[in-house]
Symmetry: C2
């Protein structure tokens, strides 16, 4: 019903990005998106199976609000992609530097 709201490239803030990625679950979601061809539904990218749907939905909203991912509704599910180009244009090297160290 809602068409998702994404910040413009120039409105992506460093604090927002860091805050979004400071949660282990969200870090895993972004990693999963990048690893799996960068287009996953919310549940397919879920960092752990026992997470409540509402919590998962909220994590995706945080990532979206921070400008890290783009979400589009495709049928009954959402397709999520990491906004790599935008993040890299705004903060060159940052995403790579963070994700290089992410995951156990």
């Amino acid at each position: 019903m809602v068409q998702f709201v994404h910040p413009a490239r120039d409105d992506i803030s460093l604090e927002g990005v860091l805050g979004a990625l400071s949660d282990p679950m969200r870090l895993r979601i972004v990693k999963a998106l990048l690893a799996e061809g960068d287009c996953l539904s919310c549940s397919a990218a879920a960092p752990c199976p026992d997470m409540a749907k509402s919590t998962l939905s909220n994590h995706f909203r945080v990532l979206r609000d921070a400008g890290l991912i783009q979400t589009t509704k495709k049928g009954v599910e959402n397709r999520n992609t990491v906004r790599e180009a935008d993040i890299n244009a705004r903060f060159p090297g940052l995403l790579k530097a963070i994700l290089k160290h992410a995951g156990e």
Copy 2:
């Protein structure tokens, strides 16, 4: 009275670092420490003058717990230094990538 507790290098976590730096005030504190020769008292590194002492103290504790700074008591004040060597050893390139974009 308390001798400050700092995590060992290997106990510094990525999420902890990102979480600590996801607050604009703490980001400014770290920037100030690095800019000013890396050894400032808490109040000298305060990101804005009207912040409550207790809040400022708490921000330093968060940075300390995350392993970002080292605090030693020197007379009546604290001397804080960024643990650059430890952070760089653990997450090469991360700190630089973040701080490059910090603070307009």
